[in-house]
Symmetry: C2
Subunit: 210 residues, 2 copies
Amino acid sequence: MVVNKKIISRFSQYRKALIRFQELGMVKVFSDTLAEAVGVTSAQVRKDFSLYGISGNKRGGYQINGLLDELQAILGKDKIQKVIVSGCGNIGRALIRYTGFEPERIQIVAGFDDDPSKQGRIDALPILPLDAMKDFVSRNRIQIGIIAVPDSAAQPVCDTMVAAGIRGILNFAPIRLKAPDEVVINNVYLQMELENVIYFVNALTKKPRR
Amino acid sequence: MVVNKKIISRFSQYRKALIRFQELGMVKVFSDTLAEAVGVTSAQVRKDFSLYGISGNKRGGYQINGLLDELQAILGKDKIQKVIVSGCGNIGRALIRYTGFEPERIQIVAGFDDDPSKQGRIDALPILPLDAMKDFVSRNRIQIGIIAVPDSAAQPVCDTMVAAGIRGILNFAPIRLKAPDEVVINNVYLQMELENVIYFVNALTKKPRR
């Protein structure tokens, strides 16, 4: 299953707007205020929330506190999310040292690499061989994995992750992975992201021929 | 300007399909064959191509050779694209060493960082202070830059890039950059990509409440 990014993006924006409202001292909010802050219709807000059984009060709107708790749970921010990384080369190492995950309650707890020269530790993090993954994942009840291996190794690593019990994968290898449909896969193709920029700069420079 | 990824994605897929057709020994292709390979309608194919003044022949379709040349130019693959990276910490360093750009004719030609301990060279690549950017960019006619600095430094770095003449930016800092509308910006928010995966795994585990 490839993720539909629009839904998560909206929930994430609702959460950020609510945190801002709370900082401003607000206690309650109406769907149209929230809708305006996020740039959607109030009908969309109510529809998104009702999907999770969250309903406001016609007169008083939503209680911000309670709504935030619900959104935190929906977004998986009510607890720390443990993540493993497979492939401890350049990209994997950068992700392991990336400081942007911790504020979002995401914690990388181990790296995996079959290159013995990469095993051991990166900072305090254990780097283990791939055949230790299944045991580690089940012992630590981990559901999320990152793939940062070269493309030729990506499918076998994906298979190992799925067999180990991983249910969601962030994939940086420039291939389309095959996995059971209940496994969530989100692809970040770095070269394609850069190609996008190059294309649009070109398109703006050389005008279409008519 | 934030990029619309759908157009580039289609052109990129047309190109890949045409390369496959060529490898199969084909010389000409009809819009409906190409459409089927890419999963769009043949009207969409003709519309996309006509925007660039490319038209097929009703009887013979498109010449694959000529069409590929046109697409290479549209996608900026008719020449090597030189790119600079600002921020040579974990993510910047990983991008500098990333091997996936070269096959796409993308070449990182310099890094910039104001931390003297990071200046000098990474492998063969020069790492320069930020105030050397303007001169370097104009001397080497560079249009594309990558931002891989912490969020607090991202806006000033963006301003420096724009002042230096950079026209397209791939941004990894988790903020929304402000730039003139003619500057192309593509954001890759790593934590949000991982949050997407976590959200969908949660959503599949805990069913919505009704």
